[in-house]
Symmetry: C2
Subunit: 239 residues, 2 copies
């Protein structure tokens, strides 16, 4: 950044601030279902319902990341991005995030087949996930990358979640919480890389506004998942 | 395959035969420009023209492979496919195929910038490459994977090409031929994996016909590249 004109520095910082503020205000850590989860208020059946439905989102992460990879502008950018796919799918001798999520389900008493057959995936969850995958398929890459920036808050949420599960849901085998542990360090790295890609390319006010709008859209996707999963009557209201 | 009904075995073998026959008859090893290249008949400027234009194809390989990856049906299939992207883009400490191709260009006296700025890429080459990328973007994954099966003959062609360059174009620094060397073993592995994916899923006559048609289409893409690059008057005729 040294040597950049002062105006550019200021607008770069303003973009980072706007992105952070968007996540802080609209990420699903504030959703009533998530608050209830972390306060220990979920019944076993609700925890399982969340795990099964969230798996539908998880299994589409490498799909959307493949679509983003195909539109990134350089091999340097692809070299960073490809690691996200490996993180989820795993590689020889290294279990990936999808396998870790299936184990979370098993630790909570959900059979692996019941996650993979998707019979319990709610229509609104399918639609929200489709919306996200199609966003990454159809929008310019800086917006698709900006949408991934919910990772800015994910590591903190994962640490809270591990503590909450240990405290409130001791019937879930703690080994099953490995997915959350993996995402603490992966999420920090991913967020840093994505933030650099976006701020490096979003230079004009419309480009910066599009990046913030993409992140807002992604927050809505995650919020909608919890709306659909939440079985409490107040679940979908937001005040 | 043991235990499969005899009819299925036979149709499986018939598909493999049809795919091999398609490549043997329609792959660009038979194109007049390739025959001239391997017989030592190209002027320096023609060799350079081929390298610059073919680079436009090369740099779209990870793009089409990202699109295929995003539509593969399982993480097992993605785990195989992702290696193709790493082969081209490289990874920390390991130069990839794109870098090797740029070095081939340099070894033949083409500046790296002249390959990357694409000013000498011919319109017909752009159109053919676009057609291939869009085929992988829009068609079902078994067809996109079948289109990759030109790899069935690529390793043999690479070995011939290395010998031809050493013999006929000694002004190209032999270290620049590393790209062709890499593709001998990578191509064999890639072809085997893709053939297994396709034959495993193409079970009905229309599915098998679609796989063969996809491979024919891909042969036309590669043939069109050489038609465009070929500067000899007979170049585009095929008897």
């Amino acid at each position: 950044v040294t040597g950049a004109p002062p105006g550019q520095d200021a607008s770069h910082e303003a973009l980072v601030d706007a992105l952070r503020r968007t996540v802080e205000q609209q990420y699903h850590h504030l959703h009533p279902f998530n608050l209830r989860m972390h306060a220990g208020g979920l019944a076993r059946e609700e925890v399982r319902r969340w795990i099964v439905n969230r798996y539908h989102y998880q299994r589409h992460i490498p799909v959307k990341d493949g679509l983003i990879l195909a539109k990134l502008p350089s091999r340097e950018a692809r070299r960073l991005w490809i690691r996200r796919i490996v993180d989820q799918d795993g590689s020889a001798g290294a279990e990936g995030g999808l396998e870790a999520w299936l184990r979370l389900g098993e630790a909570a008493g959900v059979r692996r087949e019941a996650m993979e057959d998707e019979e319990r995936v709610l229509p609104a969850v399918r639609f929200a996930v489709d919306a996200y995958v199609n966003f990454c398929r159809l929008r310019p890459w800086p917006e698709a990358v900006a949408a991934s920036l919910t990772e800015l808050l994910a590591p903190a949420l994962m640490e809270e979640r591990i503590a909450a599960f240990r405290k409130h849901y001791p019937w879930v085998d703690p080994e099953g919480l490995d997915y959350f542990r993996r995402r603490v360090s992966q999420g920090e790295r991913d967020a840093g890389e994505a933030l650099a890609l976006v701020t490096d390319v979003a230079r004009t006010p419309p480009e910066r506004a599009a990046a913030v709008a993409a992140l807002r859209f992604k927050c809505q996707v995650l919020w909608s998942l919890l709306d659909a999963i939440d079985t409490s009557p107040q679940g979908s209201r937001r005040d």
